[in-house]
Symmetry: C2
Subunit: 102 residues, 2 copies
DNA sequence: CTATCTATTGTGTTATGCACAATAGTATGA
DNA sequence: TCATACTATTGTGCATAACACAATAGATAG
C-alpha cells in the first residue's frame, strides 16, 4: 500500500473516530485498521500531537486485564479542526477526480 | 491547502496527464494547476524522478519564443504504473469514505 | 518467576511537497 | 546596445508524516 496516500488522512480519520466517542489508543488503531492498514507507531504519535495542539483532552481509566488505558476526548477546537479537514479533503479528492477522470 | 493530502497524488496526476499526451514541464504544471494548486519545484523533480525510474522518455523540441522545451512521453512501464496507482488510490479513498462516512 | 498479552513511548529513516535561489535562452523597449 | 522581462528548467535545503525497530511497564497464566 502506497504510504504517501495516507499522509494527513490518518490524522483526519483519528479525529473522526475520537470525535464520535472517547477512545484509547489501541481502540483507535483497531477502528482505523478495519479499513486501512495502519501501524501503532503512526497512531500514537498523532494522538500525542493532537493532544498537544489542544484538539484532544486525555484521562486515565483502570483496565482489569492490563495497564491503565489513556482515553482521548475531542475538544471543541478538535471538532472544528475536523470539520475543516473533512471539507478540505472532499474538495481535494473532487479536484483529483477531475484530473484522473472517468 | 493541506500539503499532506497531495503526497503521492501529484505524481499520479502527472502520470495521467503525460499518458494522455506528450507534454513539457510547464504544460504539465498548467494542467495540474487548473484544479490543484501546485508548485513548479514540486513538478519538475517528479518529472525527473519518473524519467529516471523508466516511466517517461524525454526529447527536446525547439521553441520560437524561448529556450528549448523538454517533452515527456510515458513508456509502457509508465502506463502500467499509472494503472496500479489509480487502482490503489480509488480503493484507498473508498476505505477512507467508510471511516469519515455519512 | 518466566512468558505472554495489553498499552504506550521513544529514536531514527525515508519520501514528498515546496520555499528559496540560480541558470539560461529569447524578445522587446529605452 | 543593454537592461528588463518572460519562458523553461535545475539545484539545495527544510518540514512533515508514516513507519520500522526497539524499549518500557502493568497484569495474568502456566
Amino acid at each position: 500500500m502506497n504510504a504517501q496516500f495516507k499522509k494527513g488522512v490518518v490524522e483526519m480519520c483519528i479525529l473522526k473516530l475520537v470525535s464520535s466517542s472517547d477512545m484509547y489508543g489501541l481502540e483507535v488503531i483497531e477502528g482505523i485498521s478495519k479499513e486501512i492498514e495502519v501501524n501503532e507507531n503512526t497512531v500514537y504519535p498523532i494522538l500525542r500531537r493532537l493532544t498537544l495542539a489542544g484538539y484532544f483532552n486525555t484521562y486515565k481509566e483502570k483496565n482489569p486485564s492490563g495497564p491503565d488505558r489513556k482515553y482521548y476526548r475531542a475538544t471543541k477546537e478538535g471538532t472544528l479542526y475536523l470539520g475543516e479537514l473533512l471539507h478540505e479533503y472532499r474538495a481535494f479528492t473532487k479536484k483529483v477526480e477531475r484530473i484522473i477522470g472517468e
